[in-house]
Symmetry: C2
Subunit: 424 residues, 2 copies
């Protein structure tokens, strides 16, 4: 094996014919493999299903004098606030405990910015001529889609190995129409990198022209290591406060990939002033979130130490899956020099950059061969990757055997697309 | 006992002195009684707490091939759609199953109208000069507060024994700025009346000038009888469709007062076209609602028949409480002719109209005596009851003994306020 660029035209033609034949064989198997989304696999769900039985009797439902079965405690039960505060390194009074989806909390915050304005807004965003949002890319497709859905102008910020390109960010926030930025600071979706200390310092010290600039700090993978030990992270609320930006940051997290994705608990951490303002709007919207489920999680996860132990159990399931992806890429793709990819220690993705102009073709070939992956371009604003290069690999859902097969198909398709690009 | 208006000045003064003395005695007891909100009591929560243990194992979580523990099924699991469809008399494809709060679904719909517009909106409501909403009053305070929070102009519609004053409604909807109406068609909050067949027919046949008029049909008490047998109701979606208004109605319901108020399941019923449109927006907002809890409810409630049986158990708890309220009013207040009140067979409230100008004073006296009730005016737009007369009694939370005591205090305060009004 040698790099494809060193292949002669004849070698490429031979290789292409051989690969197409192999792909045809896979096609005949009628595979149905899915690496499209960051979904935990069944084995992980089974690990945590005792969650469902921690509350059995009416007496179990009394928590520090609160009957969690009834209405009340709009912003969450105190014990759940303490649990999330410990996990995130914030204060309990900075925590709003929500329903089962942190995406919903993020969407709601943006929606409120549009309908009511945020704490420091001069007017609701719906009354502004233009709203721009910074989108470090590749990034999480659903973040970008929230912004797009509200008609924002999405501004692409390049991702580096340290996080968003801060020169570009610092320049962009001089425009008062730039109202916020999406960030996944630890094990970024999809790159899997952790923002560097300097990047975080520069983010916390931003001086946006917009008084209501919203730093959407989606700490989705804050304790989600699958290789190695837990990597501590700094509390962004404190960092922003120390930089005179106490009300700039909204941090989000959830137990979707700690307990059950369909039935977890989410939270938003923000300054006490922000919490007070949000609560004043939230009181029109909901009487209380599901406190029974909040208490289930408090009793099940207990504290940070117990939760980190549980994450080790998840890691045991996830590590072989990520290893299978990297092994396949290392052996099948690396020598050909047709792609680069990340080697994260946590999160839910491997991000691969194929030869420019081959991502869409690769994934079309995969789809035809029965392997569904995140659509090419999804990791960029408006779903358009200018280089048509980035591919997000989500290896967590399929069992290892299926995953290996899916990766065989993927590597095959990646090679075929590269050869077509080089000319066959 | 005779009507207060027939009392001489001296009789009034004597009566007043005696009542004030009795109130002072109550004040010395340091009571803490709450009839402020439609909250189920602990006995009701205990009845349904087996809900928490119906799902025990991973295998229990597979429903018609769907693992409810994982992401997916944005609009709800099919079995939950069928359950709500059976309860409401709609089709399963007309049901969106949401999180734990129907208020949240209502708020979200209004928020989406503002940020994106509804199916037939010409533009998002945030871009309209004025949005008006019809508020049959007395009505549910939180409905009005949602509208108020979005800056709508609230238009009061008088409530009759048959529902909203339809002459006024038909006139009001000729204004294209009138974008919707709040309704609680069965056991209206707080009056406890059921909309008459003619009223429902006229609502379904409305010809609003606004193409995106939203009939907010909050069927919160659709199966919530506490006296007598279940009273069938008509499917408003069908009625509207038959009148060429298929997309005008959004019906809401929840299990908050069937199972657990803090941890139930909500739903929105709407035309297939509306559902398709809402889903296209919802997909940006949330990956899925809590399907584990949806399945818990399906397994626990089973079907309409079983659910109506359960409502009989609730009725056994609630009937004595409503009887206690009515008995107190019948014996203590009726002969004095200082108030009128409703005698509902279901729902969560008794609505009382005191002598004009005495509601606020009555409730201030109650509060000083340790009995908290829904603030006077809350049942009217902007929290202002022009007659200062309507008082919402919510007897469900306190145990019967406490409730009787609270009603003694309430009757005392009502009488004191009436005497003050008549002159003492």
């Amino acid at each position: 094996m040698k790099p494809y660029v060193q292949y002669s035209a004849q070698e490429r033609a031979q290789e292409y014919a051989a690969l197409c034949k192999r792909r045809e064989e896979y096609q005949n198997l009628g595979l149905k493999l899915n690496m499209a989304r960051g979904k935990p696999g069944t084995e992980q769900l089974d690990i945590v299903s005792d969650l469902m039985t921690v509350l059995q009797t009416p007496r179990d439902c009394i928590d520090e004098g609160i009957d969690v079965r009834n209405y009340g405690e709009l912003t969450g039960i105190p014990s759940a606030k303490r649990l999330f505060a410990e996990l995130l390194g914030t204060k309990p009074e900075e925590i709003l405990v929500g329903g089962n989806a942190s995406l919903n909390l993020m969407y709601d915050l943006i929606a409120k910015a549009y309908t009511h304005g945020l704490l420091h807004s001069q007017r609701p965003w719906s009354q502004e001529k233009e709203i721009c949002f910074l989108c470090p890319a590749p990034g999480y497709d659903r973040h970008f889609k929230v912004s797009e859905s509200f008609g924002m102008k999405l501004i692409t910020i390049a991702m580096t190995d340290d996080g968003p390109d801060m020169d570009a960010v610092e320049e962009a926030v001089k425009n008062p129409a730039v109202k916020g930025m999406w960030c996944v600071p630890k094990y970024a979706n999809p790159d899997g990198i952790i923002y560097s200390e300097e990047t975080e310092n520069r983010i916390a010290a931003l001086r946006p022209a917009a008084p209501d600039f919203a730093l959407m700090w989606d700490n989705a993978y804050c304790i989600h290591e699958f290789f190695g030990e837990f990597v501590p992270f700094r509390d962004m609320l404190t960092l922003c406060r120390e930089n005179g930006n106490a009300d700039m940051v909204y941090e989000f997290a959830s137990t979707s990939k700690i307990t059950l994705p369909g039935a977890g608990v989410s939270c938003m951490a923000a300054s006490a002033a922000n919490q007070k303002y949000i609560e004043s709007l939230l009181t029109m919207q909901i009487i209380s979130y599901d406190k029974v489920n909040q208490l289930r999680h408090v009793r099940y996860l207990k504290d940070k130490e117990t939760t980190l132990q549980l994450m080790k159990e998840h890691a045991k399931v996830l590590a072989p899956k990520f290893a299978a992806v990297l092994d396949a890429l290392d052996s099948e793709i690396a020598p050909l020099e047709i792609a680069r990819w990340t080697r994260p220690n946590g999160g839910y993705f491997v991000s691969l950059n194929a030869m420019e102009g081959t991502a869409k073709r690769t994934l079309a070939l995969c789809r035809e061969t029965g392997v569904v992956m995140t659509p090419a371009g999804a990791t960029f604003p408006y779903g358009i990757d200018p280089a048509d290069s980035n591919i997000r690999i989500a290896p967590t859902l399929p069992p290892v055997a299926e995953l290996k097969q899916a990766m065989e198909v993927f590597c095959l398709c990646l090679r075929i697309a590269a050869l077509e690009k080089l000319g066959v």
